[in-house]
């Protein structure tokens, strides 16, 4: 495992192009594009203001930089550096900007969710979509880029509009049986749309592409409901994380629950491996150690923390949420399937330092990673069953079915990993600190281990 040197970034705006060749980072009002392999700067663009959002087009040719405060969007071309495009949303404001799947349209959501403006870079044409709903996830494009589902709110009722992304033709428009729609997500095969209600009611609705209601699922009533929904990459499972600290797995044939994963504070499952991160404070100062680590690469794995396997029963630290606060810190908020749909990683908010890995073949708990501090972010390797996670400290943690490892990021000045992103090839990991970033190169051949 090797680490690159540290680069500056701001707002944690750092993205690899979809083709995996370029790395775009924002530093204040500058956009820097580097070659991923050499990390040399290829292009440098200067925007009009501090960039608040940045995104690659699907063909990796254009980069969108949004400056929400000024209601501006600037688009840069990688092939033609002198080409420029500036979209001004005017005084109506801007809260969100995104590419359409074809990379030739930009969808801007105005302030107060007054409308969604669709700008065409081909024809300069502008079209509006009215009544978008301000919710957790109101817009979703199908994986193949053909369709866009948009949650709408009209006359105190929820609707879903399905657009053809090709020409923004409204394909379907139907009312959903929700009290207060919170989000929608296409299945990876693009044929089923999962729609879920706000947390006040546990309700998940499944619609076909043509607007037919396929199934409705509700696990319970009178209690806070759905917190997160994720499709498995194979479209075979729909995982629903809820406020009752459980994950329910629906199958794609009958849309019935086939499994239920409970996040219990005392792990008695003898088949699950509980990895507990144990921190050891070495006698040497941290500065010495980091220097030492830089100079001698072989001591990378002599980290200050390591995992210990705890025999069951294991008591997981639980934080009781404040019942008087809204959006209580309880329930499964994050769900992630591995790329082969074999594993599911979850995080229960009142056990913030624990990541749970479930085996989707055996439908059982496989591993529990108990960290010393709250888990900030975890992401699966897009190629293999390998989970990377960070907890806001100077370490990077990796889990694979073979085991667990904690790696000290060998940078000066205490690089604290706040977030991470896998490169699409699964060989490189982009670690994001507060205003820095660092690339971590995995070694495919297991020479380090």
């Amino acid at each position: 495992m090797n680490f690159s040197e540290v680069f500056k970034q701001s707002n944690q705006l750092c993205k690899v192009s979809p083709d995996g060749k370029y790395l775009a980072t924002c530093v204040q009002y500058r956009l820097v594009v580097r070659d991923v392999s050499t990390l040399q700067i290829l292009q440098l663009y200067t925007c009009l203001d501090q960039i608040s959002h940045m995104d690659w087009s699907s063909d990796s040719l254009f980069i969108l930089c949004a400056m929400y405060k000024r209601g501006l969007v600037q688009v840069w071309s990688l092939e033609q550096p002198d080409w420029h495009c500036k979209i001004d949303e005017g005084s109506i404001g801007l809260v969100s900007s995104r590419w359409s799947p074809d990379g030739r349209h930009i969808l801007n959501t105005t302030e107060f969710h007054l409308r969604v403006t669709v700008w065409s870079l081909c024809t300069k044409a502008v079209s509006y979509i009215k009544y978008p709903k301000a919710c957790q996830k109101g817009i979703d494009f199908s994986r193949d880029g053909c369709y866009m589902a948009l949650a709408e709110r009209r006359d105190c009722k929820d609707y879903v509009s399905v657009f053809v992304c090709d020409d923004w033709h409204l394909l379907r428009h139907f009312e959903t049986e929700t009290q207060d729609l919170a989000g929608l997500e296409w299945s990876p095969n693009g044929c089923v749309l999962a729609v879920w209600d706000s947390c006040l009611e546990y309700k998940v609705l499944l619609y076909s592409l043509d607007g037919r209601l396929l199934s409705t699922y509700s696990a319970y009533e009178w209690s806070l409901g759905v917190k997160s929904v994720t499709w498995s990459p194979s479209s075979q499972f729909l995982a629903i994380g809820s406020y009752d600290e459980k994950v329910r797995i629906l199958n794609h044939i009958t849309w019935k629950k086939i499994a239920q994963f409970e996040h219990i504070a005392t792990i008695n499952n003898t088949k699950a491996v509980v990895y507990k991160e144990v921190e050891k404070r070495p006698a040497v100062g941290s500065d010495d150690l980091s220097l030492h680590n830089i100079t001698i690469g072989t001591t990378l794995f002599n980290t200050q923390s390591k995992y210990e396997i705890c025999p069951p029963p294991v008591q997981v630290p639980v934080v009781k949420p404040d019942p008087d606060r809204a959006n209580p810190k309880i329930g499964v908020s994050t769900l992630a399937f591995s790329s082969d749909s074999r594993y599911l990683a979850t995080k229960n908010d009142n056990m913030a330092s624990v990541v749970w890995v479930w085996d989707m073949q055996k439908m059982s708990l496989l591993a529990v990673l108990e960290q010393t501090s709250a888990v900030r972010c975890f992401q699966w390797d897009p190629r293999r069953p390998r989970l990377a996670l960070c907890t806001g400290n100077t370490k990077l943690y990796l889990w694979s079915p073979a085991g667990c490892v904690s790696v000290q990021v060998p940078t000066e000045g205490g690089f604290q990993v706040q977030s991470l992103n896998w490169h699409c090839c699964g060989e490189t990991l982009i670690l994001l600190g507060k205003d820095q970033l660092c690339l971590c190169y995995m070694d495919t051949d297991q020479e380090d281990k």
Binding site: D88, D155, C156
Partner: protein, 668 residues
């Protein structure tokens, strides 16, 4: 008194009178009263006239007295012993009846006394019982009172609880009402909230609309796109006009994609189905394989033919099902399930048949060898059966024996047998123990031998020492010219040349030695036979000084020369502990050492114990006449002690040897 007189003649005929008198007595109360009055009056009169019962009868009144007494005796039921006067005048009584009467009376009296005593006892008992009863009664009364009080208390609490319940019930009712009210309130609030929310939302929507309108109408800062040059479509095609045709094509595409998805899912399902079918098929085949009877030599009996027919049917069914598996219509499924059900039934039948066959096999073993083709198996079975039989017999025998033991008295043989059975284990254990014991015994034997040898050796040494001493003493006496003082001292003390000078020193040293002994005892290699502590043998002394090798402690003997400080120390301790009398402020040893006459040798031994180490300065001088050595030791420290040296060791090798001059053998 007249009546008294009248009864006298009657008294002669005792038998008749007895009953009549009794009846008389019982019948006529007047007479009884008279009698009583008379009885009471008589002693009164007697008491008034005489002091004692002896005055009852006088010379004159003998007959009357006799008659009176007879009467009395009669009344007492002792009519058989009638006192008679020996003579008519009655001065004397006939002794025998009188004595008999007296005896009877005494018996009666004693009985009465006994009865009285008993009665008194009884009475006492009764009274105590009464007391007890009374006490009990009072106690019970108290208890009763207490329980009554308790009961009333409980009644009170019950009443209170009832009251409480009532209040709680009323509370509950009010709470329920409250809950109902609150629920109503909540419901109304919820409806109100939803209504308000809707209203607000509508307002918000209206506002948004208005805002949008206003923003669109405003011309100051137009929303605009500023592109250098328009881009081509990502797919390279031109954009289409929005036409109905386009719409239709979208619809078509959508349905195509849906269809594609369904096809994919159907294909996967079909694949899964095929897989399952394959498994089913395999299962069926195996089932058929199992079920098809392989008994061609069974003969032409009816059962076999029936089974044959069944199997044919099965095979047919199997073929049929194989065909039907490829079909996928409903009746095929029906047939499939039917055939499976049928086969299951057959399998069950087959299993049942197998069970029955298994039971039959035992009987058919001998007759039908085809049923069990495996000879070895049969043999094995036979053997096992035989074993089982044997075991059964054995168990039976055991049971019988047990029964015998239980039912009848032991006859010696069975008892022994049983005992044998029961104590076999014990015996084994004992044997083991015996073996251990034997081993130990052998060890002890060996040790004893060693001891005996050592004792013999010691005896010999002792003898030699005695001789030495005798010669030395002789020499001493003969050659006492320069050391007369010392000799006097040493010899005046007497018993031994090695004895100490004065009593307090001895005591002190002995206490010291005892202290050391306890700690150093462990270092002794072998405990030697006890000997007089005051007179050790030379060899032993040498041994303790490690001047000659110790035969029984060879592992210590070759440890090092005595000059080595550690061994010196070791040796010191030994000297001290074994020959306690030699420890002291000053001791003088003089030893007759034949053939070891050496010029005066000085040894300075320094102990390693520390800077303030004990320093022993030894000087031995040759005797003038003999080969003996005189050794002078001066311990400079209270803990210091003596070392005896012998010519075998080169004493001059000691480092820092410092001569000490002694002017004569005396206290230094």
């Amino acid at each position: 008194m007249g009546e008294w007189w009248t009864t006298v003649p009657v008294g002669t005929s005792m038998g008749n009178y007895e009953i009549s008198s009794i009846s008389h007595v019982t019948m006529s109360p007047s007479r009884q009263n008279n009698l009583v009055s008379m009885q009471s009056s008589l002693p009164l009169s007697l008491r008034s006239s005489y002091n004692g019962i002896s005055a009852f009868c006088t010379e004159d009144t003998i007959p009357q007295c006799i008659s009176y007494i007879n009467q009395e005796l009669d009344s007492l039921g002792l009519s058989s012993t009638c006192i008679e006067a020996s003579s008519l005048e009655g001065a004397d009584l006939k002794a025998v009846p009188a004595l008999n009467a007296m005896y009877e009376l005494m018996q009666i009296h004693r009985r009465n006394m006994c009865t009285l005593e008993e009665l008194e006892k009884e009475q006492l008992k009764k009274s105590s019982t009464l007391d007890h009863m009374q006490m009990n009664n009072s106690r019970l009364k108290d208890q009763l009172e207490l329980s009554i009080r308790e009961k009333s208390g409980l009644h009170e609490t019950e009443r209170q609880l009832h009251l409480k319940i009532k209040t709680l019930q009323s509370c509950l009712k009010t709470e329920k009402d409250e809950v109902q009210k609150l629920q109503n309130i909540i419901a109304s609030r919820a409806s109100q909230y939803s209504h308000d929310a809707k209203r607000k939302e509508r307002e918000a929507a209206k506002l948004k609309e208005r805002l949008g309108q206003l923003l669109v109408d405003r011309k100051d800062r137009k929303l605009a796109i500023d592109v250098l040059n328009c881009l081509g479509r990502s797919d390279g095609k031109r954009s289409h006009w929005k036409t109905t045709k386009a719409t239709a094509s979208h619809e078509g595409e959508m349905y195509t994609s849906l269809l594609k998805d369904y096809e994919v899912s159907q294909r996967s399902l079909m694949l899964e189905n095929a897989e399952l079918k394959k498994v089913l098929q395999q299962m069926k085949e195996e089932m058929i394989h199992i079920l098809s009877p392989r008994r061609p030599t069974r003969g032409a009996n009816a059962v076999a033919s029936q089974e044959q027919a069944d199997s044919d049917g099965e095979e047919k069914a199997g073929d049929f099902s194989r065909e039907t598996l490829d079909q996928s219509c409903e009746h095929a499924r029906e047939q499939l399930t039917n055939s499976i059900r049928q086969q299951w039934r057959k399998l069950r039948n087959h299993m049942e048949k197998l069970d029955s066959q298994a039971s039959q096999v035992q009987n058919q073993l001998e007759s039908n060898k085809e049923v069990i083709p495996r000879e070895t198996h049969e043999d094995e079975m036979e053997r096992m059966r035989h074993e089982v039989q044997q075991c059964k017999e054995f168990i039976h025998a055991q049971q019988q024996l047990l029964q015998q033991q239980l039912n009848t008295s032991f006859d010696d043989e069975t008892a022994a047998l049983l005992n044998d059975c029961y104590t076999l284990e014990e015996k084994e254990r004992l044997k083991e123990e015996w073996r251990l014991f034997e081993e130990q015994k052998r060890n002890f034997e060996r040790e004893r031998m060693n001891f005996t040898e050592a004792a013999i050796r010691l005896g010999r040494e002792k003898k030699a020492f005695e001789e030495d001493r005798a010669s030395w003493l002789k020499n001493q006496f003969l050659n006492m010219t320069p050391f007369s003082d010392h000799r006097r001292c040493s010899s005046s003390d007497g018993q031994s040349a090695l004895s100490i000078k004065s009593e307090p020193e001895m005591r002190m040293s002995s206490t010291k030695a005892r202290l050391v002994t306890s700690s150093t005892h462990a270092t002794f290699s072998t405990p030697k036979p006890t000997q007089s502590a005051t007179v050790p043998s030379t060899t032993e002394l040498y041994r303790t000084l490690r001047l000659i090798p110790d035969s029984s402690s060879s592992r210590h003997s070759n440890r090092g020369r005595w000059q080595e400080s550690s061994s010196i120390e070791d040796g010191d301790i030994r000297v001290k502990s074994r020959n306690r009398v030699r420890c002291g402020d000053l001791s003088i040893f003089s030893l007759g050492l034949p053939g070891s006459g050496r010029p005066s040798t000085v040894l300075h031994a320094e102990r390693l114990a520390g800077p303030s180490a004990h320093r022993c300065v030894l000087q031995h001088q040759p005797f003038q006449a003999t080969e003996g050595l005189l050794l002078l030791v001066k311990p400079l420290h209270s803990l210091a002690f003596i070392l005896m040296l012998q010519g075998k060791v080169d004493l001059n090798t000691a480092p820092h040897a410092k001569p000490l001059y002694c002017h004569g053998i005396s206290r230094v």
